[in-house]
Symmetry: C2
Subunit: 151 residues, 2 copies
DNA sequence: GTTTTTGCAAATGATTTGCATGGAT
DNA sequence: ATCCATGCAAATCATTTGCAAAAAC
């Protein structure tokens, strides 16, 4: 993969912050950029390992924290307490299944300004507003129906 | 504390489900009802211990799961992965500080029907939509300014 | 050459599980 | 008498931390 202009930006941002440009950081950023979807730290570790053999999980975590600070990644915490890292930075939200933990994107545009204003009223300097819809996914509903029928 | 009509409802719901009415369950339900605010499992355990000495943390967890199933409690997962259990069932949302984990209520009324419809389109049977605003709380902002000034 | 980052191994901390006892029906 | 719920202790699992070696500046 050839370096992209996004790489250039990433590198100069790192240098401006007095931080180092490393193959691990570039690889994680590249994987996220290609992924356009949320993934756990462990999933990302698997994907990045193909490019940087031997990369460690703690490095993945620390780089994700860095990218979150830079606003390149959003974090969604699912019900099991596992964090998902989302490379989609355009407005979208999430639905989480309370039975199996499935997380899917939902496209909706609530009035963000109203939500952010409410947070400011509470003394916050808001970064973003994420809607998390909790419910039961299609697959789990099928399972539950089967269980009910059997009982 | 005298039994309330809410207790009556809770008891009959449990019986209808073939489950037992226990002092632990009644105490946890009562504490949550009086609390009108979110709390961690551990905080609730502390509060309930005053009424039911010796109650165990696993019991608190399992009862919270039960109450969540009944729709009496909502779960909010903060950034550290710690779950907060919220007894407020009226519409309100949350702002979470990404520095210290503080969670505050925010009052705002996004178009819920639009959000829930979007989830249905994704195959979900939605329970509710929670907005989680991520940002930095007032206290942490003060700290950060102090750090920046010092640097 | 100096400072940051990495990888490893171990620690942490919330939550869950297995199992025997006690309690509700 | 039956079956569910509890308490205890141990297990689990994502994430974080301490530290020495390696890499970036």
């Amino acid at each position: 993969m050839a370096p992209t202009s996004t790489d250039e930006l990433f590198c100069s941002t790192l240098r401006a912050r007095g931080q180092r440009v490393t193959p691990q950081r570039l690889a994680i950023a590249a994987v996220l950029r290609d992924l356009h979807h949320h993934a756990t730290a462990e999933e990302l570790h698997g994907l990045v390992s193909a490019r940087v053999p031997g990369i460690s999980l703690p490095t993945v975590y620390s780089t994700l924290e860095l990218l979150e600070d830079l606003g390149a990644v959003r974090r969604v915490v699912n019900d099991g307490g596992t964090a998902l890292f989302d490379a989609r930075t355009d407005e979208h939200h999430h639905a989480i299944c309370r039975r199996c933990g499935l997380v899917v994107d939902i496209e909706a545009t609530p009035d963000q300004s109203q939500l952010l204003d409410a947070a400011r009223t509470a003394g916050f300097a808001p970064d973003d507003a994420q809607v998390v819809v909790r419910g039961v996914c299609a697959a789990c509903r099928t399972v539950r129906e089967a269980e009910t029928a059997a009982a």
